[in-house]
Every structure is written in C-alpha cells, then in structure tokens.
Symmetry: D2
Subunit: 264 residues, 4 copies
C-alpha cells in the first residue's frame, strides 16, 4: 500500500513510537530542537545551522504582532463573545493576515525569487548584472500599475527599525543572500524611478531573509503565521485579565447609535 | 489619557521605534530571543532560564501535530478550496483544537492548579499530604462522572513516549515541579480506584510542565496553539507539493454516492 | 458498499442529477423551496408548514446581527487585513458566536428541553404541573450558582422587543408550544425567587420557538448561525464601501500608544 | 457626532427599539420578511419583488453544499476535535469557499459586469453587439492564459442540471437579464474558439442571476456564503448523530502509517 495517496513525511505514530520528520520524537527531537528548529526542519527537510536559526528567530520575533493591530483587535473581540473557545479567537486573528497585513512577507519572497529565476544566475553584490535584475523587476511592476511588495509602511515612513537590524544580523552571520541583496537594490531603483522614498518594511525584509536561509518562497506566507500565533496568544492572555473587547464594543455601539439617530 | 482602556503591555510603536514587552524590538529582542523565549516573556512577563526554555521547547515540539490528524486533514481540505488564502487553512486546522484534541493540555493544567490551590500548600514529593491531594482530586471527578484530564490516549494505550521523555527532561533540568508530580500521583490513584491503566498522555504532561515552569494554567490552552500552527504550516507546504485533500474528497464523494444509491 | 461509514442523507450527485434531502435539486427544490425551508428540511427531515416557516424566518431575521456587535467589528477588522478572502472575514465574525453572544439561543433550547424531559409530559398551559417544572428547573440552576439561560440583556433591560413580537407571532400561528410556554414561566419564577426582573431575551425566545416548531434542541446553536452569516455579509458589503475597520484600528493604535508612553 | 466614522445603516438599538435597515425590527421585519428577503434588503437597500425573491432562493438552495465536499469534510473533522464550539466547525467549512469552490460565483458576476461596463450599454438579446461583447471578453481571458469563470464542472461535464433550471426560472419570472444572457453567449463563444464544450456551472449561473436581480457583483462572493452556512449546519447536525469525522481520521491515519513504514 506504499502508493496510497494518503501519506505524509511530517509524522506518524504507532503504539510505542512517534516519528516526526523521520526522527524519533521523544529521543531525537524533544530536548534537542527548539520549536523554530522543528519548523525549519519540517518545511526545508534539514536542521538549520546556528546562524540560520538565529536569523529565523529574529524574523519570527519581529513579526509576532506587536501592539494593537486589526488582527489583535479581531482576536480580542472574538474572545469577548466566545471566551470558552480560545482557538476560535486565535483563528479569527490569523484570518486577517492576508494581502494587506503580514501577507506581504510571502509576496516579497515570491517576487524576489521570480526575479532571480528570470536572471541567468543569482547576482553577485553590487554589479551591473544585479542592478539590471532589479531594474527589470521594478519596471515590470510599475508598468502594470502594481505596487512593489516589501516597500513602504504606514507608521515607519523613513526607516523600519526591524529592517536595519535584520540586515545587520544577516551580515553578522554571513547570511546576507541574494534575496536580501536584491530587495535593497529594488528599493533604490524604486526611489530613483518614482522620486518617492519607500523604506523596506519589516515584513518584506523578513520574507527575503527567510528565502535566503532556505525556506521555499511559497512557504513564507505560511511560516510567518507561526510568529503571529505567538503574538495573538499573548494578546488573549492579556485580554482575559484586562479586557479591551467589551469596552471597545460598548463605545463603538454607543457612538454608532448616536450617529444613526441623525437622518442619513 | 493614561486611563484609556485601550492599552496593552504587549507592544507599541512610533515612527522610529517598536517596543515589545517593554523592550526595544530591534535592539533587544531580534537576535537575542528565540520565538519560544518571546512567547514565554509575553505571557509570563519574564525571560525563561535556559532550563525553562528547554522544557517549553520540548513541550511545543511534542505537540506540533505529527502526522495525519483531524486538524491537519481539515487544514488540507480547506487549502483544496482556497489555496490563495493559506491563513484560512491554518485557521481551519486550529479550530479543531478543542475539548477532544489539544484542549486537554490546558484542561490538565487548570485541573492540577485547582487541586494544588485547594491543598494548603504545594505538596512535597511522595508524602502522605501530596497523596491526599491526588485522592481528593480524583474522587471529586469520578464522583461527578467526569473523566480525569491528562490520562489516556487512543493510540498509546500503555505509555505515551512523550510523557516519559518530558518527565526525564524536567528531572534533568531540576524543573520537576508540583504539577508534574501531582499528575503522576493522580494517574496512580486513578488506576488504583478504577482498576484501569490509563497512561499520562503527552498533552496532559505538556500542560503540567508548562504550569511548572511558570505559565499561568489558564494560558496553557492558548500557548499550545503556537506549536500546532507550526505543524499545520508544514502540512500545508507539503499539501501544495503533494496533495491529499483533492484525492481524499474524490474518494469520499465516490464512496458516499455509492452508499447513497441504495435505499436507506 | 451500503455499510460504508462515508455516506450522508444531505445530498449526492451524479453527472446528470443532484439529489438534496432525497429530492431532485433542480426539479423539486429550486423554485419551490426558500433557503429557510431547505434548512428546515435538511435538519428536521420534513418541509415546514406555512406557519412554521413564518416563525423560523421571524427568529432568523431577529438574530441576523443588527448594528455594531463584537462579531461585526471582528469581521470588519479581518476584512481590513484580507479583503481578498471575504470567507475569512465572515468566518471571523461567526467565531464570536459563542457562550456570550448568540450561543444562548441553543443553551436555552437545551435547558428547556431537558426540563420538559424531566417532567412526566409536556405541561399544559398555566397548570400547577407546568409551574412545578419551571420551579424545579430554576431552583436547580440557582442552587448550582448558574445563570438561567435566555434571561437578561445588557441593552433591553425591561423588555426585549423581539420577544414580545415572537410570542405574538407564535400565538397567531397556533405554534405557542411547550418550550415558549415554559420559558415564560421560568422568567416569572426567576423574578419571584430573586426579586430581580430579567426579561426573556431575543436569543432565548428564538431558541425556544425553534424547538417548538420542531428543530432538535441540539441543532439550535448551529441553525442561528445561518442568520448571523446573513448579517455579517451585509456588514462586509458595507465595509467595502465605507470602511470602519481601518479608522478604528488607527484610532485604537493611537490611543494605546499614548497610554503606553506613561510608566505602568 | 454625525460625522463619526463609526456608524452603519445595517442596524442599531436603544433600550426599547431595534432598527434594521431603517425599519423597526419587531414591527416591520419579524413576521413580514424571510431571511432571504432581509439579506436582499440589507445588501441592495430595497425589498425584492416576489419574482426576484424566487430567483434568489433558487440560487441559494442550489449552492447550499449538497453532499460530501471538501468544505463539509473540513467542517465535520473540525467538529470531531471541538464539538463544543459548533461555530468553529461552521467557520472551518466556510474557509474552503475560496477560488476553487463557491468563489467562482462571485468571480463570474464580476467578470460579466466588467464586460458589460466595457460595452456601451447592456446588449439586447442575440444581437451582433452582444456577440461582440462576449467575443471580446473571452478573447481577453484566453489571450492572458486565464480560465473563463463560470464554465466547466468536474462532475457535470455535459450540462449542470442547476444551470438549465435557473435559466428556465429566470425566463419564467421575466428576469433573464444581461448577465445571464451574456454568460450563455460567453459559453458559446468559448466552445467555438477552443473546440471544447464546457457547460455553464451552477456557481457561475447563480452569480449571473444574482447580479441580474440587483446584487452588486462585488457582493456575490459574500452572499453565496449564506447558502453554504445552511448546508454546513445540516452536515454538522448529521455529524453529531452519525459521525464521519472520527472514522475518516482513523482510516486515514492507519493508511498513512502503513505507507510511511516503507522507505521513501
């Protein structure tokens, strides 16, 4: 029955043994790998080096949903109605990680990977060939009227503090690869072409960094959800102690009813 | 405006700076903390020791959804219909982490914490007082016709391999605390009372271990969702390459139609 | 293969024909049944009478999520982040339909049905026997420290306008059955025992009315979600034209950051 | 405060009165409008005629998720893990209503509306002008390598029985409008151009019919989710009585473990 479509490399179990990624879970994973390392292993099929692990963790902690976001508000408001089902509140928060928020990490990785694929080979740093790849990629998007993924942020209009730190860490670990390098060049070309400064945002830099350490670009949009889940869980633990959802609803309801009482 | 209900300790940002848990995200979190450590910090308000971190990671990797589960099947089938919205497929998988699967980790932590609260103080190991706490807790549940959380597993009927390993790791790190100790005693008392051997399952042991290293028991049900997200993302990356959802649907539809064609 | 567990009465299809609830979908359902009637048929296995249909529709329109609620806010905030996946925003809104909001419709139906089951038979209106059922049911809940489901509303403190109308409609259609009658008596008994007036809320009356026209009490919690989906879809169509989610986030973020800038 | 962004036309409430779509909910909606009519009113801002209502109901009952689908399987498997949170199981089922399943109803409505907007005016039936609109629309998609939305079905390869019935009903009610007429022409043009017969599928016909009776094309993708919720709730009521989720998981787990025991 080896040709049954119903099989997976991720894991399996018998009465005595649980196998994850081809390893014995109890003997060879528990106590040996961090959650970040296991995620890396499950998606890329190998264990990360110490440097790769540090970059991945830096990306994940940078995207764990700091502060008040539409996602964390949605999660908290869902908890207000169904505190007994915390998995539903986390799920509600994740559902907002789409094209506008968090999704751009994966979009950036895909965009950069496609541009690199179109070029003959990964461009060495700062050469004319690399520059041509960036120019071609940016031109294509602008001509089609699309935005360049990974650039711009509503709050961090000059520089996104996460981006500078991530480039520094990648350099420090010798892991500043073709995706991060191309993204920097894309930002420069974009500014020259449009006359507008749009900084590389944290989601874009994170997506490029994950691609550089070995995550398939198509996996990035999923991988960053792990980080977001951590942030959402923290919000919900806080919500249980000091609720925002209920007073926010009551304020919104009161203001909306006042507005509605006037003729449209 | 310091008394606005709309505030959070988790994070905030200005144009130049992002703060997470009161720290500068770029300078003091990225490159310094793993995702597991950040989750610990956000929920418990302190950074874990190396030993605590190792235990938390061991719990998380043990619960990351190995193999085919109702959750991973639901996520894969959702991906079949909406591959463009991977956050929806992850959310669908998380929604099955309720009272039957994964939820027992939090239920066990809550049950053990309540029993310890009822006792005058955390029982030292192996004493008559500790034993009395376990007996009282088990009696209360059995009298009410409830199951004891954390015991029993449909596949690992004799021993759950994750449990043995987790107890060994906790002992190794000097972190075998009152919740894990009480859970062991609860399992013994349950077997004496009912004559049935139910092993401590991985979810139950994980919940007890998280409580022992400092997670509020009420936070455990949420915390384990971080691990599950990692497992689900891995399943969806694999699903994109080698689909199970579509052939599973077609087989199920075919079999159901054959069954339905007969009179009821 | 008639004994395959994989079969369903709900529907099946072949290349030429789609069967729903044992009927030909194209010939006997489309153009003949409303969505409400199909939902009734699928859950109760029969087509409702005109009166039953009117009651069910009255319940559903009364619970379709009027105005600003935690559910509709969560759906709108989710749409802000992922406007390309409207199914995710609807799902986020539904996830808040738990123990606090909407869930009480099903809880009330279950509570009333259990009380009626405990009684020897469905009590005829206004007799001592009926009264005894209500007294026993209320006493049981109060003694256990539980709230009585179906009573009380944060906004409609005196009377819930939906309740009065629903009782009037049920009487008009000759469908004022044992659940609605018992609920009225439960509210009276509760007020006598506690000295506090808690009106029958719309969710509770709706749950009782659905049970009276033939929905299994355990199905009510699911059935009311159909109504909520209609309300959420309307909110999201409006959100696409005149957004609340984005300005709400920006206001909340600004207020939270101002609050966070002070020492805790 | 009439200029507060926090307001909605959908509904509001005071202690004595609930307003929905500008009407008194108790007096003018309950007992008067069906759920379908309320959904129509909330989205289009007017009450449908009897004929329009019949068409909308025909579309909704035709899309309520008959039989075993990826959506209904995902909902049932979610229920297996979290039977206490039925809103989560319904949400999981809805999350699969994306680009592959159900989403095409909205895609078809948007595609047809855009083609009609590009033409000078809505084409009268069977004229050369109308034909030119269809040819231009199909050519555009084929040239870009895209599929034509609303055509083709994996099971109903010759004709989708829902489509024929819907066209007949629309003709009967005098509501065969520009979207349905254009879709028919699009299917003809597609067959001539490609030599392949792809029938108009039920989702596509439904989307066109909803646009013809007045739903904004951008609302269609949301509106059909109301129908799907009804189908999913019916599946979950059946699942509670006769489970598919648990045996399906156990069979899948067993088969996957057998497959995994062989070397890769």
């Amino acid at each position: 029955m080896t040709d049954d479509y119903l099989h997976t490399w991720i894991g399996s179990s018998t009465a005595e043994r649980i196998t994850v990624a081809g390893r014995d879970l109890a003997a060879d994973v528990m106590g040996s790998l961090t959650l970040t390392e296991l995620a890396f292993l499950l998606v890329t099929h190998r264990v990360p080096t110490a440097g790769e692990r540090r970059i991945v963790d830096a990306v994940l902690v940078s995207l764990a949903d700091h502060g008040i976001t539409p996602s964390s508000l949605a999660a908290r408001l869902t908890y207000t109605g169904a505190p007994e089902a915390i998995q539903g509140a986390v799920a509600a928060g994740l559902l907002g990680a789409g094209s506008v928020f968090l999704g751009p990490a994966g979009d950036t990785a895909m965009f950069l990977a496609a541009a690199l694929r179109d070029a003959a080979e990964a461009p060495p740093e700062d050469t004319a060939a690399a520059r041509a790849v960036a120019e071609s990629a940016v031109s294509g998007l602008l001509a089609a009227g699309h935005r360049v993924p990974g650039l711009g942020h509503p709050v961090h209009r000059d520089e996104d503090p996460r981006t500078l730190r991530l480039y520094a860490l990648a350099r420090e670990e010798g892991l500043l690869g073709p995706h991060l390098r191309l993204l920097r060049m894309v930002a420069d070309v974009h500014e020259e072409r449009t006359g507008r400064h749009l900084p590389i945002n944290g989601a874009g830099a994170g997506g490029a960094a994950l691609a550089d350490v070995g995550f398939p670009p198509s996996s990035v949009r999923g991988v960053v959800l792990i980080a977001r889940t951590a942030g959402l869980v923290a919000h919900l633990v806080e919500e249980a102690e000091r609720p925002i959802g209920m007073p926010l609803w009551l304020e919104a309801e009161r203001r909306a009813s006042a507005a509605a009482s006037d003729p449209p």
